[in-house]
Amino acid sequence: MDSVGNIILYFIIAIAIIVFSVLTVTTKKILRAATYLLFVLLATAVIYFQMDFQFLGAVQIAVYAGGIAVLFVFAIMLTHKPGKAAQPITSHKRALGLTASIAGVVVCAYALFSYGNKCLQTLAPAGDGDYDMATLGHALLDSNTVGYLLPFEAISVLLLACIIAGVVIARRR
């Protein structure tokens, strides 16, 4: 990939993610928060594509942007009157949140930069066929040491349990 184009794309994505993340957590209207979340998730998908993880990016769009965001919208519609703004955040809470998040970011950033040379690692070109669907499919259903059959099955069971749990919990009694 062209490195300049890559960098420009990165900055667009970065600005989008930062702006929409901040908006997600600061907007007064909950439906808008969900929409901004959707933008963040889509931008994340672009990052995955940039990393050559086409499948992961597709899953991100399909499951996160397509599934979870819609689920949020449904839940919001079921529990909120449209257009009603959330109560304003108290300054005490805002102070708490700001200290927590800024302290977290600072500590993590410091930890990050204390490993300077690893952080400056640049992107190596992907090998041929490294991330194509055949490889992924084989790895997913492979029961050898490098395979993911067991977690795959475990997640399948978990999802089944979630379907049942979701039905049971939300069912009207």
């Binding site: 809470k93 708490l96 927590a100 500590v107 410091y110 930890a111 204390s114």
Partner: protein
Amino acid sequence: MSFDLSILVLAIPLFMFLFLGIVGVKMGKKATGWIGVASMLVTLVICYGIALTYFFQTPLVNGVHQTLIPYNWDWLSFTNKLVVRLGVLIDPISAMMLVVVSTVSFLVHLFSIGYMSDEVGKPEKGFQRYYSFLQLFTFSMLGLVVSTNIFQMFIFFEMVGVSSYLLIGFYYTSPAAIHASKKAFIVTRLADLFFLLGVIVMSYYTGTLDFFKDASHNVMASLLDNPQSTIAACTGSFMGCSAIAWSLTMIFIGGAGKSAMYPLHIWLPDAMEGPTPVSALIHAATMVVAGVFLVARMFPVYVLEPVVMNTILVVGAFTAFYAAAVACVQSDIKRALAFSTISQIAYMMTALAVSTSTTGEGSLGYMASQFHLFTHAMFKALLFLCAGSIIHCIGSNENSEMHGLHKYMPITSICFLIGCLAISGIPPFAGFFSKDEIIVACFHKNVGWGLWMMLVAGMTAFYMFRTYYLIFFWKKHETPAGKHQPHDMPWTMTLPLIILAVVSCVAGFVPAHDLVTANGAPLETHTEWPIAIGSICVALVGIGLATALYYKENGVPTRMKNACLGLWTAAYHRFYMDEFYQFITHKIIFQGICKPIAWFDRHIIDGFMNLLADGTNSLSYSIRKLQGGAVQSYVYVYLMGALAIAVVTMVCILI
């Protein structure tokens, strides 16, 4: 009759206990009663069949009645040697006891149909419960007498105690009955604790619980087949006495509790609060002789321990005299009979204790005690059932409300008279033969004991006839206003009386010395006429004295009472034994021991626990704000903690 049927003797009452107890409520009361009677009749027939087959059709081996064990199941196998078994054992004494228990039980079942109904024949409340408990008792008692090992005997010992408790407290609305039932249960249970200890000591040393070897059921060790080796096995000693002596003494204490030997007799007079047929069955004829039966069962071992035998002798002889003395002044007819029972059981114990060997002359006492057990069960049940008739008719136990009933209740009166003659030892009634042999056995031991027992026999005659005269003669009966005249009872109540009266007349001719002996072989006996005539004379003197004093109303008894008022009052209050126990338990044990322990428990132990609880409580109350349920503050604190750890880690790495 095959001995395989013997299991039915236990199975029928047990089944009927459950059946009447569970289904009885759904059935009518009358039906329940009659089903109980019918099932008892079946049991009776089987018991008689077993006993007759055993005594007269089973061939003797070397002239000895064999011990048969038709059933013997392993129930609890602790070790290879120590196995608790449940089974059926038939030997002379258990066969005799089967007859006694089933006879009295059947007649009591029949009698209770009338007794447990009111004037117009309507059964009382709890009728089904009553019959169910009677069946339970019969089951327990039959199980006790056919025990193949001492632990099975202990189990059934407890069960008769329980059924006795249930039946004494049958009128559970009356506080006196409840107190009496508790008293009976606690006293006998305390004694049974000693029994259990004795069993444990003995089984610890001998490694077996079984009475007899039983090759067909793989029982290779036993207590009684070779008593010398049993005694030799008990090598330990404690406080100067051997382990076997301790063990036998403790087993005797267990028996003494059930058989109301002094000083554990206090429960029996109070147990008269129960229905009178129950008193007849449990507290006169069967359960109270369980102690005698126990000592008789273990007799081959007991007889080799003279120390224990002498203890039993002293206890028995003293109890006989004490109970007879108390019985002379009681005004409650059931209490008088109860003390008479204590006295007569003490007779049996004494008779066992004066035996010196299992064969020949020395074993006369054993035979006499078992014979007396048999005859006593019959005539004492008769006396109690007569008393039951009278009480049912009059509605009171006090003889001051009776007097002169002979005219109104002739059948009861004659039956009671036969019972009195039998217990007094007048030939040809049953008591003469057995009691005479006991006195002979006592004379063989020692002339002093013989004279002592003869004196008690005279007192027995006196107090029985005193009771008899005060009930049936003394003065004209005054029917209280509003009550109808006393009369003989319906046939369900008179028929048992007549049967028992007939049995009391002829039971003396049962050839007990051929059947029930210590070693199973027939015993040569001959009436010792000097002693027999002596005891008859003593009995006649007692009867004559009672006749002179109580036949017609006169002032002599009152004058005699006033002449030695202190003695009379003491005897009337049973020589203050209950008060003595009350003092020991309440003043010394409760006040002196339990109160401080309770205080310690309440203030020190509980206080410490309360301190812990209060401390935890106040601490958690003061920090409860930390857990306010605000999820977000949890996250905040958690995040800050994680960051702090990260900072600390980084600082450590950098330094």
